[in-house]
Structures are given as C-alpha cells and as structure tokens.
Symmetry: C3
Subunit: 203 residues, 3 copies
C-alpha cells in the first residue's frame, strides 16, 4: 500500500513539474525560471495542504520529492531541446495526470489524519488544483481551474468524491478509480469539449 502511494506521488510530482517547465518554455523564461516554476508546481499543492492541516510539510524530510521535481524539469528540457516544439495538448495532459494523482492523495492523507469526508474532498481539490494555480498565477495567466470550458474543479471534485465513498472498501482501488475519474473527465473536457453551463455573463 505505502509503495503504491509512493509511486503515485512521484508520478504526480513529475507530471506537475513537467507542466511547470512547459509553461516556462511557452513564456520564454530562462533556465532557472523554468526550474523554479517546475518546483513550485510540483510541490506547491502538497505544501499548501500540509501547512493548512498543520502537519510537517512532506518534502522537508524526504529529499526524493525534490529529485522528482528535477526529473520532471529535465525530461521536458531534454525533449524540448530535441524536438524544438511541444504539442499543444502536452501541458494539459500532464496537468490532468497531476490533478488526478494529487486529488486522491490529498483526500487520502486528510482522511488518514482523522478529518471528516467534506474536509477530505476540499483538501483533495486544494492539493490537486493548488500547484497548477500557483504556476498559472506566477506566469500571470488566469488559473486553468477558473477558466471556462474546462471541467477542472469538477473533475477534481468528482474524483475526490469517488475516492471518499469507496475508501472504506479498499484504499488502493478507491485511489485508482478516483484518479481515473479525474483523468477521464479532464480528457473529455479537453478533446471532446465536455462542459458545464457557464455562469451567466454579468456586465
């Protein structure tokens, strides 16, 4: 079980860090600006989660999380160097993987600390959406979670809800299903144009 969580965690961090590095590339930042954005995106959501839950921040005692951020950065940097371009969907796909992983991990950690289900779902959304929110705010663009036509918070909410409902049966199955729900909703939103009603436009 713990190995499962550990591997998921690394996967999510690498995916988010890679998305941060790609956003840096899109905005033509220098190398270390890209590195900063990769780290902030990779560990930002979990850092906010732990600070709010009042527990030790996860990467302080475990340096391998920092190496995972570096790995995500280097993978992107190498790929960009070789191909000189990145398909437009890459950022969104990496972001969807990170969103799914951190939604279920955030909810799982919150439940494990003894908080109730509503808090677990909120903390799952915060962990999942937080890193990408910081990334987008730093790059001076409206965060994906708030942009229209994206089913971003919706995906995270649905995945967190599924995890919380199923968690009493089997944590690892609940995490896998929660993750897949987030991923499928996001991919449907991106490639099939699934959407929610907009908020009525105000003038």
């Amino acid at each position: 079980m713990n190995e499962f969580i550990f591997l998921l965690d690394l996967l999510g961090i690498i995916a988010f860090a890679a998305s941060g590095a790609l956003v840096a590339g899109k905005h033509n930042m220098d190398l270390f600006g890209g590195l900063v954005l990769a780290f902030v995106t990779g560990i930002g959501g979990g850092t906010m989660r732990d600070a709010i839950l009042g527990v030790p921040v996860f990467w302080l005692a475990q340096p391998h999380y920092l190496w995972a951020c570096l790995a995500g950065f280097l993978i992107v940097y190498g790929a960009v160097w070789k191909f000189q371009s990145a398909p437009k969907a890459t950022i969104n796909f990496l972001d969807a993987v990170g969103l799914g992983v951190f939604t279920v991990l955030g909810a799982q950690k919150t439940l494990a600390l003894g908080h109730n289900e509503a808090v677990a779902i909120i903390m799952g959304m915060l962990t999942g959406c937080g890193g990408g929110m910081i990334r987008d705010v730093l790059a001076n663009q409206v965060p994906m979670v708030l942009s229209r036509k994206r089913l971003y918070a919706t995906a995270s909410l649905a995945g967190g809800l599924a995890f919380v409902v199923l968690a009493s049966l089997s944590q690892s199955i609940a995490m896998a299903i929660g993750f897949l729900i987030v991923l499928i909703i996001r991919i449907g939103a991106l490639f099939r144009d699934w959407r929610l009603p907009f908020f009525p436009v105000l003038k």
Copy 2:
C-alpha cells in the same frame, strides 16, 4: 458573546463568498470555477491568519463554515439566474461587509491568543484583505486593496485600530464599532469618492 462572533463570522463568509461568485460571473467562468472562487474568497483570509498564527485552521473542525461558503455562492447564483445582471456596486458592497467583519474578527482572535496590539491590527488587515486579495489575483486583476481611489487598507486599519483601542471596555461593542468604521469608510470611498493622496507617480 460567542454567538455574536459566530453570527458575524457566518455573515462575513457569506458576503465574501458571494463577492467571489460575482467576480467569477464577471469573468464568465464555469459553475465550478465560480464555486472555487467563492470558497477561496470566503475562507482564504482566515486560513492565512491561522496558518501564520500557528493555530488549527478554523474550518477544518467546523464544517458549517464550508456550508456558509456554499450558501453565499447559491444566493448569488440564484439572483443572477433570475435577474441576469448585477448592479456594479454589489461586489464592492459585499466585499466591504466581508472586509469589516474579518478585520475585527482577525484582530479579536489575535488578541485572544495573547499577541500584542500591533500584531492584532496587522492580522486584522490580513484576515480582512486576504480573501479578496486571493480572489483578485486568481481572476488576474490587481487586488482592490492595492488599487487607487479606494481607501481599502485604510478602512481596515482604521477599524482594526478602533477595535484594539476599545476592546478593553467591551469586546462586542468594540467589534460593532470597528465593523461600522470599516463599512462607512469603504462606502464613502465608493459612493462619495473619499480618497487619500496618491503615491507620487514614478516613471
């Protein structure tokens, strides 16, 4: 006394959450984007306050705060659905109510924890201005607290100062007066164009 604080708290959260939902409407976000902005605005300032003070974050153990955010969102959503528009002043008025409530509650909680008056005034400003700052940064606009012609931080400072000075007499009267001072200054700034000297323009 505690009921008084409790009711004020709910009022502030509902007002701030409603202002977040309205900003989402103005930027034409989807439904869940609006929900996210409502929650972040409603509980953002108090979350920052508690994280900095090193005390348990207020909404973790008390889910009714989360319901208050939902209520603020639903009220706005229903009203917007019905009237298809919102008077321009509504966001500013709701924001002023939230600013007043959280300024005095932030200062009150900080004093109750044994910190000195200067820290209480600063934490009142942070609690009052914090949620709105996060809301505006996420919506990619300069926070109201920093925009010119608004007497925003000024209002919060004046209300916090009044509360701290009067708190030794009667907490509830001090809170009511502090709240009213914030509200009056903000409304004067918005509708009567009260203002401070600008910072000299630099080139």
Copy 3:
C-alpha cells in the same frame, strides 16, 4: 553572531519594503496600498519560510520587524516626495540586496533547525525570492524570478550553495560571501547583461 544576523535581517527587510513601496509608486497606488505592498514584500518571504518549516512566524513576537517595514516605506516616500522620480535601477538594486540577505538568512535558519543542505538551499531561495514574488503577483506583473535575462533564481541558488558549503567553517563569513555572490550576480545581470541560455521558445 546574533547581532550580525539581526542587523542583516533589518537591512534586508528595509530594502525589500522599500522595493515594494517603489513598485506601488510605479503603479500609482494610494498611500496605504503602498504601505501594504511594503509590508508584504518585507516580511512575505520569511513568513512563507516559517509557515513551511512549522516554526513560529518571526515577526509575531518581535515588533521591530514591523517597524523596519515602516522605515523602508517612509524612506522611499520621503525620497520620492523630494525628487519626484526614482532612477529605474533603484527597484532592482534594493531587490538584489533583499534577495541576497534573505537567501543566506533563510538557508542559515533552516540549517540551524537541523534540516539537510538541499532543504536549506531551497528554503534560502524561497525566503529570498518569496517576498518579491508576492509583490509582483499583487501588482499583476510576472515575478522577476521568472522573467528572462535576469539570473534571479540563479543568483539565489549560487549564494545559498556557497553559504551551505562554507557554513561549517564560519557562519558569519559564509553569510557575507553568500550575500556578496547573490549581489554580484544580480548586478552583473542587470548592468552587464550576464545571462543564462533561454528556455527554447515553444509555440
């Protein structure tokens, strides 16, 4: 030793607070908007550091840090009032001093708390870059740390690395050298156009 840290700390806070006030002037904010930006820039990085490290936030018990923010603000305000303009390089220079001071102080505090060197370097970068990041995000501009042609994170990383390597010999010499490395790299970047390879541009 403690006096040395204390003086450095005040210097860094005054420099950062002054840079915040100047950014407020550049964006033509009102007086209290400028004051808010001065405080947030002056104590923002250290506040994030302490919240993440799980230790009491440094300015809660020691009000002189708040007075240092006020001093930075007043110095800028007086100078701007007198000269009606500020050389373009002033913000960058003040920011470089703050970056150097907080990089070494952040790394020093983290080491002193028993964390390992990698964490100390990251926390040095966070403390150094954090206040300026919040300042720039609030003023709705891309943070300096992410903009191209600036060697910003690079300078902080180099200074933090030097401090961590030399800290076992003499803390005060290590801090002085770390600070000078940050300052020299930033000044070289600003006035001599030193730079890193950019991230390849993506379309």
